[in-house]
């Protein structure tokens, strides 16, 4: 297991987990979602290839109502 910071909270996940796998574990539908890894936006096309490593900072963003 590795330790990542997920939306501000320390979380344990399995080593080498893909971003796509993280979303699946959290049961988050990827429609309308964006991901940042260590402060950089990760293009959707890389969600299936980017693996998490220890101490990664992951932020998940969603669309909300707004003007």
């Amino acid at each position: 297991m590795i330790s990542i910071k997920l939306n501000g909270e320390l979380t344990q996940v399995s080593d080498g987990l893909l971003l796509e796998g993280l979303l699946a574990q959290l049961q988050i539908d990827s429609k309308g979602i964006a991901l940042a890894l260590n402060g950089l936006v990760v293009p959707r096309s890389q969600w299936t290839s980017r693996q998490l490593t220890d101490q990664d900072v992951v932020d998940i963003f969603q669309s909300i109502a707004g003007g």
């Binding site: 988050i28 991901l35 936006v41 932020d59 969603q62 909300i64 109502a65």
Partner: protein
């Protein structure tokens, strides 16, 4: 009504709508349908993973409207660029409503950060729609760096104060080579109509519809006002004069009495 073209999209409706402040997602969708809008705004926020997710995107995509993410919450150009990149991935669109307002009390857009961010975003291939004060100089500068339209405010966001910036909007409209969309402050259909009569290409309305006691009827009223305003602009408004100008000649009637 004649259509409006921005970048690669053609709009039959000149009413753009925000999605905030509606009491429910169902009412929001019903009102947006009644408004006939083809472009609706959304924001992005970091998820609260402990709370359930309210997926707004699905019903909006189901309605067939175009989505326009904004960068609200950004206080600097760098934050806005980050927000735009997130939005591009989240909503799979290059369109971005650029808004940077560091001051939460008046939500006044920061002109310097906005111009800096606009330039960077244009270089990254975004269709940039900047929300700005009704500043004619800034609007020309934004056009020069490649923004596809400008979105000057009528009055502060959510104020419903109407076209407080009218004189400057008129200058912006007169000078602009890109579409001018009046954003913020439009509180009544008459404000929207006036903006279109003055030659604005479209308006963006949110609060005035969302907080009405009947958002669906208000949305319909806004749709009609925008159509009327554009029609009047195209027809050409009659000139304003200080003196009266009789609509029929009085002379022959007076002669009969002599």
């Amino acid at each position: 009504m004649d259509s409006l073209v921005i970048a690669d999209k053609t709009f039959n409706s000149r009413l753009f709508a925000g999605t905030g402040k509606f009491s429910s997602a169902e009412l929001m969708c019903e009102a947006l349908r009644a408004s006939e809008t083809e472009l609706v705004t959304l924001s992005l926020r970091r998820m609260d993973l402990k709370q359930g997710r309210d997926n707004l995107v699905k019903p909006l995509v189901g309605m067939g409207v175009n989505l326009l993410p904004n960068t609200s919450g950004a206080r600097t150009a760098d934050e806005a660029v980050f927000a735009a990149q997130l939005a591009r991935e989240a909503l799979e669109t290059d369109w971005i409503k650029l808004e940077i307002h560091p001051d939460p009390r008046y939500l006044m857009p920061d002109p310097i950060e906005t111009l800096n961010a606009a330039e960077k975003l244009v270089q990254q291939g975004f269709v940039v729609m900047p929300y700005v004060h009704a500043d004619p100089v800034l609007c020309k500068r934004l056009e020069e760096v490649g923004c596809q339209c400008v979105m000057p405010l009528g009055a502060p966001i959510g104020s419903n104060a109407g076209l407080a910036s009218r004189t400057f909007l008129e200058i912006i409209i007169e000078q602009s080579s890109v579409p001018v969309i009046v954003d913020a402050g439009i509180g009544a259909p008459s404000d929207a109509s006036l903006a279109l009569e003055l030659g604005a290409d479209a308006v963006l309305v949110n609060t005035a519809m969302a907080v009405s006691s009947d958002p669906v009827a208000m949305a319909r009223a806004f749709a009609m006002s925008v159509t009327a305003g554009r029609m009047a602009y195209r027809a050409g408004l009659a000139p304003i004069s200080v003196a009266a100008n009789a609509t029929s000649s009085l002379e022959s009637f007076l002669e009969t009495l002599e």
